[in-house]
């Protein structure tokens, strides 16, 4: 019966539906009113539709998410996937090479300024020197020793290009549409929004460690996705190697601090050996298997060994180029 009436007034349903969102024109309003007045069943149909609208509105979902839990999760996500920070570390061989040519670089730099004018900035660090550079776009670069950084004074252009030799840690300001590209040993490490690409690979291995940000590394037809806590190593003629970065102290030089939390002495010694380029032997297995928590500021090796010896109740001596940690009686 109602269907028949709806057919008779072809667009009466449309009018009813419009009345729900109060978008009836005044002539439509009159038309609807006329139809309603015609028959009690019309009025009843209209009331039921309106009631359907009201009833469904009154029974909205009660779903309430756990905002606290979600906030914690969100916070972890933005700390690990945004404000892209990346670290470009060349391998040790390269430091040596760069250290060897440091005077050469100084001269080249002079030439640079003479030939290219002051539109380009070159930053250098000598041995045992560290530097923090604020780039014009708000990004920060922490340079390790024996390193060289070159970039356009205004960092103008579609691409924010940085040329690096040595080691540096980048905190990249987010500039949508303006990729941040680090050129190091014929590799390109690109940051755009929350990700970056490394497109070339070098003759000398280059290591990229990702602290935060999601990274896609391209190499020929291979593509690797590197996530925080992972690293990728480029060596000439080899495929890039992506691996977990197990070294929590890889930016110790930047933090000016080592962090050893419940780390076995043998592991601590390994980090110190690597950092200072020396050989350290622990002669006592009892000391070697201890797991101290120790976060010393970076200092000279003898000072650190003093501290470590104190914590582990040990002694240390230097024999030639080797440091020995022994049990104190």
């Amino acid at each position: 019966m109602l269907t028949y009436m709806s057919e008779q007034f072809e667009n009466i349903d449309t009018l009813i539906v419009r009345s729900l969102e109060n978008s009836l024109s005044s002539s439509e309003q009159t038309m609807l009113q006329k139809w309603l007045d015609e028959d009690a069943t019309h009025r009843r149909y209209f009331d039921e539709i309106r009631r359907t609208w009201t009833v469904t509105g009154e029974h909205d979902t009660h779903f309430i998410p756990d905002t606290e839990k979600n906030w914690q999760r969100f916070r972890e996500r933005i700390y690990t996937s945004d404000t892209p920070e990346l670290k470009v570390v060349s391998n040790r061989k390269m430091y040596l090479r760069i250290a060897a040519s440091i005077t050469g670089i100084a001269i080249t730099t002079l030439l640079y300024f003479t030939l290219r004018g002051p539109s380009e900035i070159t930053e250098l660090t000598a041995a045992n020197e560290k530097k923090t550079i604020s780039l014009p776009d708000g990004s920060k670069v922490y340079m390790n020793q024996n390193s060289r950084l070159r970039y356009d004074k205004q960092l103008a252009g579609a691409e924010r290009a940085i040329h690096l030799e040595g080691e540096a840690f980048f905190e990249v300001a987010n500039k949508p549409g303006r990729p941040f590209v680090v050129y190091a040993n014929e590799t390109q490490t690109q940051v755009l929004g929350t990700s970056f690409d490394v497109r070339a690979y070098a003759a000398t291995p280059v290591e990229v460690v990702v602290m935060t940000g999601k990274v896609a590394v391209s190499h020929d037809t291979h593509k690797l996705v590197v996530t925080p806590g992972r690293k990728v190593i480029f060596a000439a003629g080899k495929q890039p190697e992506e691996d977990a970065n197990n070294d929590v102290n890889y930016i110790a030089w930047k933090e000016n601090k080592f962090v050893f939390e419940n780390i076995q002495v043998s592991g601590i010694v390994q980090t110190l050996e690597h950092f200072y380029g020396v050989k350290i032997i622990v002669t006592d297995p009892g000391i070697d298997s201890m797991h101290p928590s120790w976060s010393p500021e970076i200092s000279t090796l003898p000072k650190l060994l003093d501290q470590l010896a104190f914590i582990t109740n040990a002694g240390w001596i230097k024999e030639g180029n080797t440091y020995k940690i022994y049990r104190k009686n």
């Binding site: 349903d13 449309t14 539906v17 969100f74 933005i78 987010n174």
Partner: protein
């Protein structure tokens, strides 16, 4: 800092008002305060925005995707996008922005699921929702569940349109532009939705009408 946060928490997101109340004015102090925070302390801005609007965003998505875990994931993504675009948000009215983003991400998700062949619909045929004891000891939760079931049983597009109109309070015009269809189609789908719902929710409508008619005759009818 604490005080600022608490001030914001007290203005919990509510979405009241009818369809006519569509003006998104940037003059609301809440929004101005958020904009100020965004300029001064983006971490605090993010936390404030998140804590105030996450439930709202999540609920909007949930209505469309009908799965709590998916809704939470997608709501997280909405805020991640905000964070990533925080440099471009100076002119934004956050509530409207979040609402739009929530709807779009949910609709995209449903579309993708559909393309993958995953059916969102809970039932094709339209039978009246069964009510064990109409008007009797029915709890509010039961009623809500039944009514939501009825909405879920609508054909997919029809359901989406109905939800956008009824719960997200979008105008037919806004729905049309969101879904890239004509206003006429939206209106037709609304007619279909309401007609189907009128049938499946018949018992609720009758019960209510009886109450309106007067409690006096209600016991008599129960005896019939």
């Amino acid at each position: 800092m604490q005080a600022v946060l608490r001030t914001f928490s007290s203005t919990a997101p509510t979405y009241t008002g009818g369809n006519t109340d569509k003006g998104y004015f940037c003059a609301m102090p809440e929004n101005a305060a958020l904009q100020k925070l965004l300029r001064e302390n983006e971490q605090l801005f993010m936390e404030t925005l998140f804590r105030n609007w996450f439930p709202f965003v999540c609920k909007t998505i949930y209505r469309i995707v009908q799965d709590t875990a998916t809704a939470e994931d997608l709501a997280q993504d909405v805020f991640i996008k905000i964070w990533n675009r925080r440099a471009e948000l100076q002119e934004v009215y956050f509530k409207a922005y979040l609402h739009k983003a929530a709807i779009n991400i949910a609709l995209d998700y449903v579309d993708k699921q559909k393309r993958r062949g995953v059916h969102m619909e809970l039932g094709e045929q339209h039978e009246p929702v069964r009510v064990e004891n109409p008007g009797g000891g029915m709890s509010l939760q039961q009623t809500t569940r039944h009514i939501q079931q009825a909405v879920d049983q609508l054909p997919e597009k029809c359901r989406e349109i109905f939800i956008l109109s009824r719960y997200e309070e979008l105008s037919y015009k806004e729905i049309a532009s969101t879904l890239k269809i004509s206003v006429k189609t939206v209106e037709n789908q609304m007619v279909t939705a309401l007609k189907k719902l009128r049938i499946s929710l018949q018992e609720y409508l009758q019960v209510t009408i009886l109450f309106i008619a007067g409690a006096a005759i209600y016991p008599l009818l129960l005896q019939c």
